[in-house]
């Protein structure tokens, strides 16, 4: 009964139980720290629709939206001792023309904000890693990283639609989202309602706008009429 194998087994079993309970407590601690993300400004500064190809080899011409936007948001309250990274992203959303139930949603810009404790995990260039480490100043938690300030930010990903048509699309809205990745626990996203100490992201929507008609074509037409 009291062989060393049994003792080893018991020790290991106890260890896993303790580790599991500690992990549960850590993930539960997230609910005690308030989340009060705020958006001060989210607006578009430039709108344009152009025709283009997905890549050099594709024969299909599609319409692409060119959007520039300004964002001023404060996500610093999302950084706690259990935060590994915050993934912040801005989507463009618009209802479908055919039926109002279907929606279109596309990420136009995103960023990975690592907590100082996970800087070494990101695939950063040595210079950027050095800069990040310096900015954190040896702190384990650096809430100032959650401050997003973008001015006339261009799209990171081309914005188009499977139909290839995008000009004159109405009721397009930009929306800020975030996804918190903890060291231990479940992933969590921005929520529409308050949950206890986690407040909803207010003011995270831009004004509705309509994408303009294609400009390039008109210019081409003018040229041909001139000649």
């Amino acid at each position: 009964m009291y062989s060393s194998l049994v003792r080893l087994q018991n020790t290991f079993g106890f260890f896993t139980t303790v580790a599991f309970v500690v992990a549960l407590l850590i993930s539960a601690s997230d609910f005690l720290s308030p989340r009060t993300p705020t958006v001060n400004v989210l607006k578009t500064t430039q709108l344009q629709t152009v025709k283009g190809r997905a890549d050099y080899y594709s024969s299909k011409k599609e319409e692409y939206a060119i959007i520039k936007f300004t964002l001023d948001a404060d996500l610093s309250s999302l950084f706690t001792w259990n935060t590994k990274q915050v993934f912040a992203y801005v989507t463009a959303e618009w209802p479908s023309a055919q039926n109002n139930n279907a929606t279109n949603q596309a990420v136009i810009w995103d960023t990975i904000i690592t907590a100082p404790s996970s800087d070494h995990l990101g695939n950063f260039s040595p210079s950027k890693l050095k800069r990040l480490r310096k900015s954190a100043n040896g702190k384990g938690i650096d809430p100032s990283r959650g401050k997003l300030q973008l001015k006339n930010q261009r799209l990171k990903y081309p914005l188009t639609h499977p139909t290839g048509r995008l000009a004159n699309t109405e009721d397009v809205q930009l929306k800020l989202h975030y996804n918190v990745q903890p060291w231990v626990g479940f992933l969590s996203w921005n929520q529409a309602q308050d949950w206890g100490k986690w407040k909803a992201l207010k003011n995270g929507l831009s004004k509705k706008f309509t994408l303009p008609a294609i400009k390039v074509k008109e210019q081409a037409k003018k040229k041909t009429t001139k000649v």
């Binding site: 949603q105 596309a106 990975i112 231990v184 996203w189």
Partner: protein, 138 residues
């Protein structure tokens, strides 16, 4: 161990015990599969395309039921490219339409461009069916 060879009753019991352990593991795996409605409820991250969120070798628990909401933009999903059985863990970055035919486009957080190049020839978007689960916990 050697004495068991001389005792067929004990040998049979040992064999049964071994079979029980194997079948229990299999039952737990399949049970998890039924609960999460996913053909592979636990996957291993194969690439660094979601770093620093998920490292290579991380284990992910999947959930493939849409109880309250549809799979939407921003969720981390695991999908199989058509005719290929390699699970890929990436984030949904666009969704056009609703329901099971909604067109989904994915991208790894750490990648520069979306997954159009990863998909099968002629496949420009994923549909809900291609997804084998959404990542629940870290």
């Amino acid at each position: 161990m050697l004495s068991a060879l001389g005792n067929p009753r004990q040998a049979a019991a040992q064999l049964m015990n071994f079979g029980l352990i194997l079948s229990t593991a299999f039952m737990m795996w399949k049970g998890l599969s039924v609960i999460s409605d996913s053909p592979s409820p636990i996957v291993v991250v194969l690439s660094g395309s979601m770093e620093p969120a998920f490292q290579r070798g991380d284990l992910l628990l999947l959930w493939n039921r849409n109880l309250f909401t549809e799979t939407s933009v921003g969720e981390v999903v695991v999908y199989n490219v058509r005719d290929k059985d390699i699970p890929i863990v990436h984030r949904v970055i666009s969704k056009f339409g609703t329901g099971p035919t909604a067109k989904l486009l994915t991208k790894g957080d750490n990648n520069d461009s979306d997954d159009t190049k990863l998909y099968a020839p002629g496949q420009n978007y994923l549909v809900r069916e291609d997804i084998i689960g959404c990542v629940a916990p870290d």
